[in-house]
């Protein structure tokens, strides 16, 4: 064991340091290559405007008001939640938005138990696709207020909204979903 602080000159000149690194170069046929550069800093910062478009804007503004707005395709009757502006099957402009109460059933889910940089929620937590009643598409959200081991496909769930003063043009205006069945009441 070596005290790094006691040998400052070695630390400043890594190329001259351990003999192990020099061994390959001592093979008769190996050419002597210059030390390659391994790191250089060239930081980029880029700021963008994101254009949500008319369709998404309807839905995101609804969330800020505590309303879940869906839209129906006049051609194929598909109901989108969240709704784009045009049906991605028929390319028809979707009908006027209408409100759903947001209750539905879990159509599939997974339990995230892995920590990662930038993680917002403490693992383990449940990420689910929720088939909201009245919608033809599935909405992704968190399921909380239940032990992950008790979550099941087909479980009835309901949205838990953020307080009125915390709501924004974002899906985070719904804090999470929770079981809606009587046994959890």
């Amino acid at each position: 064991m070596r005290e790094p602080a006691s040998e400052p000159s070695v630390l400043r000149e890594p190329a001259s340091e351990p003999s192990v690194l020099r061994e390959p170069a001592s093979e008769p046929s190996a050419p002597t290559l210059p030390e390659p550069l391994t790191t250089m800093a060239s930081p980029f910062r880029m700021d963008y405007t994101y254009v949500a478009g008319t369709g998404r804007s309807v839905f995101l503004r609804g969330l800020a008001e505590g309303r879940m707005l869906a839209r129906r395709c006049p051609a194929c009757a598909q109901v989108y939640l969240p709704p784009p502006e045009f049906c991605s099957r028929c390319l028809s402009r979707l009908d006027e938005p209408f409100e759903l109460d947001g209750r539905g059933v879990i159509s599939t889910f997974c339990v995230v138990s892995f920590p990662f940089p930038g993680q917002v929620h403490e693992p383990p937590y449940v990420v689910a696709h929720i088939q909201v009643e009245g919608s033809g598409t599935r909405l992704m959200h968190l399921v909380r207020e239940v032990d992950p081991a008790d979550v099941r496909i087909g479980m009835e769930v309901e949205p838990v909204w953020a307080g009125e003063d915390e709501r924004e043009n974002s899906l985070t205006s719904i804090r999470h979903y929770r079981p809606a069945g009587d046994e959890y009441a």
Partner: protein, 358 residues
């Protein structure tokens, strides 16, 4: 070679900043117009090809959003290039040459307005070791090229001002242009420098737009309309990555691409009636005209990119504008040029004619 033609072209007006529409919203009416003009249903389209760049969108795989305007259900055959959509056109043309289908739709979306400051973004297209850390201004490499051309006696600031005046004047007849007007040469020369010797109007104004071209092969093309703009020759070539290695006053990649395209077409760039050139700067026009061997050709009758540059849609607009003049009978033969990269690094040349190959 299979006979393949442009049968339809549509574009959206180039706007300095479209804050209303997402990608699908910009694109959908343009696709409808292009397909509607030739009575093609989207189910009849065998292949979709598109071009755009995440640089400009600020998201990875940003173009996926645009597929909502194509209708990717049931699943479609499609491809995307992370560059100007003129290269998506080249891919679709090749795909039709392979006989995989008869009708292809090519679209380009360019949104230059989303980045808060393009000078934060554009260094990322440069070599990360020798160029990007220097953070040259977005127009600095073009300035080097223009200054070298003037020094070599290939153009002058007054020549460039005349190109600007002619382009913006032509754009007054183009309803899709972002910028147009009847300016005087002295007025243009009074504008401040952006990157010497380039002044304000020498630099194409960046904007947001979408463009759509419908390509069809053989009898399918003949069935879709009375006139076709047959793609008689197409080629693209690339110069080396490090601009310091190149002679910036010449474009060897353009010259070679034009020679190869002419070999395929049976006629050369000097024999076309009009040329639409992807000139992101005024000085690119004399440089390209020389590389292509253009003589008395009308250049950029639409006004060209100096009247509006919807970034990655700009090259496809050149192909569409050139084809449109054949489709409406104003030109017999036309050339379209597109470019990618700094200081005309990568160049595409497309030769079209109202007559299919004999």
């Amino acid at each position: 070679m299979r006979d393949v033609a442009v049968v339809s072209f549509a574009q959206s007006p180039c706007e300095a900043a479209n804050r209303r529409d997402d990608m699908a919203g910009i694109l959908l009416p343009v696709i409808r117009e292009a397909l509607g003009a030739v009575g093609v249903d989207r189910d009849d389209v065998d292949f979709f090809a598109s071009g755009s760049h995440d640089f400009f969108e600020g998201r990875t795989f940003a173009y996926i959003e645009s597929l909502d305007a194509v209708g990717a259900w049931p699943p479609v055959s499609e491809s995307h290039v992370e560059m100007d959509a003129a290269w998506a056109f080249a891919e679709a043309w090749s795909w039709l040459q392979l006989g995989e289908g008869d009708i292809a739709l090519v679209y380009g979306i360019g949104r230059g307005s989303l980045a808060a400051d393009l000078d934060q973004v554009l260094p990322a297209q440069l070599d990360p070791y020798f160029l990007a850390p220097l953070r040259p201004h977005r127009d600095a490499l073009a300035g080097l090229q223009a200054a070298a051309m003037i020094d070599a006696g290939l153009t002058s600031e007054r020549d460039l001002a005349e190109i600007v005046v002619r382009s913006l004047s032509a754009a007054t007849g183009n309803p899709y242009a972002q910028k147009s007007g009847h300016l005087g040469v002295d007025q243009v020369l009074d504008a401040p420098y952006v990157s010497t010797p380039l002044r304000e109007h020498d630099v194409a104004p960046v904007g947001d737009a979408a463009a759509v071209v419908v390509l069809a092969a053989g009898d399918a093309a003949r069935r879709l309309g009375d006139r076709q703009a047959w793609v008689r020759g197409l080629d693209h070539r690339m110069d080396t990555h490090y601009p310091g290695v190149r002679n910036l006053t010449r474009s060897e990649s353009t010259r070679v691409a034009a020679a190869r395209a002419a070999e395929l077409a049976g006629f050369g760039a000097s024999e076309v009636d009009i040329a639409e050139l992807h000139t992101e700067y005024s000085h690119a026009e004399p440089l390209l005209a020389s590389a292509l061997g253009l003589e008395r050709t009308v250049v950029n009758p639409s006004g060209g990119p100096l009247a509006g540059r919807p970034v990655t849609a700009t090259g496809l607009v050149r192909i569409g504008e050139a084809a449109r003049r054949i489709l409406d009978g104003r030109a017999g033969r036309a050339l379209a040029h597109a470019t990618n990269g700094p200081a005309l690094q990568h160049n595409l040349v497309c030769l079209m004619s109202g007559e299919a190959a004999a």
